[in-house]
Amino acid sequence: MPLADAAIASWADFEAAGEQTRELLRELAADPAALVELLDAAAADPGLRAASSAGAASLSVVLAQGGEGPRLRIVWFREDAGGPPARGDRPRSVLVLAGEGLLTWYDERDGRPRPLLTRVEGAGSSFTLHPRALHAFAAAAGCVLLVAEQAGGPAADGPPPGHGPIAPEDVALLRAELARRTLI
């Protein structure tokens, strides 16, 4: 069975799904041939390209969705990027493939976000976020993330605001960048 189609526990069991998806991401990171195969498939698949998105600072390519496994994405930050604290639209696990970013977890005090924990996530770091986790991730230019997240839902319908759909050339650019950095 291809790695990306591996069935995982329901995200209702956050701990179990988190453990499985972090393991899946580690396996994928350790298998450059599988990653290349997924990138090539994404470049050729209009459905995956439509679910992917390109913005000024980042490129997010959906590598797999629709099977029994999680939705898989690879995100490349071409510039420094970040945003205000927010909750995710779905549970997800993240593996930092290269580069780094600052992850901060918040609570709300008097309606304002208050940082509770902060750390630099470097290559090899892996974590799982529940949609109720108020957080921010400030990526440094060059950061590359692998993401395994709950499939389906509204965010699978298209690019977020400020982002457009991607072309096969975008995937080729990402592929070249990963090769340049010997990640594939």
Partner: protein
């Protein structure tokens, strides 16, 4: 004017790395994180200084009194500058650690020196006290902490860092306490018999000592040494044999 014990300790040993540090504002967590994460990494990388401070502990009554053997881990305090809000200590696991959701009396920065464990951050939307039930405390961030990882955490954050591998070691740089005690909840039973017995009894809450056996949902409070009786301090005091074991072990592992 008499010099207090903590100042005598700081003034007895010059540490240029710490001399330049201004009092740390732990309420500004991002700024404290930037400062202390750099500081703790530089300290850990300076093995000569690390070794010097570790070997000085047994000769410093102020620090020695703070070194402890607890139920599942040992602690050696290496430095304590109250004026700057800068205490450095080692945390070494000695037994499998259960998942204990807790907050702290102080904010701190942690550098993992050896081992790995799953770090959980929890949300307890209705607060966290003796009335809180275990299913009201749920993880929202799961992080695989590995050797070399460093984080800074606010004293009100609810988390657990169960060292499930014996021999896991962390270096902690903490601020001054801002409360007298901090709550801890067992999300996992400690001891099979207790796990079974806990089903039949009311939750145990309110103790100020960490229990050797506990059921899911049992709670206790962690208190500072100044809140403990002399008998309790004596029970927890690290033995010189254990301290020397750790000195040797840390050298063997290349940590100092």
């Amino acid at each position: 004017m008499a010099v207090t014990a903590d100042r005598a300790h700081v003034e007895a040993t010059r540490v240029p790395l710490f001399d330049d540090v201004e009092p740390i504002d732990w309420d500004d967590l991002p700024a404290a994180a930037a400062l202390t994460q750099d500081l703790i990494r530089r300290f850990a990388a300076d093995k000569a200084l690390f070794r010097q401070l570790l070997h000085a502990v047994e000769h410093d009554p102020y620090l020695w009194a703070k070194c402890e053997e607890d139920v599942v881990e040992d602690k050696i305090v290496l430095w304590d500058d109250i004026e700057k809000g800068l205490r450095i200590r080692l945390r070494m696991s000695t037994a499998y650690q259960q998942q204990l959701a807790h907050s702290h009396r102080f904010s701190f920065t942690n550098l993992v020196l050896r081992g790995r464990y799953l770090h959980r951050n929890y949300l307890a939307e209705n607060g966290f006290d003796e009335n809180t039930l275990p299913d009201q405390v749920n993880p929202v961030v799961l992080h695989e902490d590995r050797a070399g990882d460093c984080f800074t955490i606010h004293h009100e954050a609810l988390h657990s860092t169960a060292f499930t591998e014996i021999g896991t070691i962390s270096l902690v740089l903490r601020g001054n306490p801002v409360k007298e005690r901090a709550p801890v909840m067992f999300k996992e039973a400690r001891g099979r018999a207790e796990a079974l017995a806990a089903r039949e009894r009311a939750r145990a809450v309110g103790a100020e000592e960490e229990p050797e056996m506990a059921g899911v949902g049992d709670m206790f409070w962690r208190v500072g040494e100044e809140q403990e009786s002399a008998e309790r301090r004596a029970e927890r005091q690290m033995t010189i044999e254990k301290y020397r074991f750790w000195c040797g072990r840390l050298e063997e592992l290349g940590i100092i």
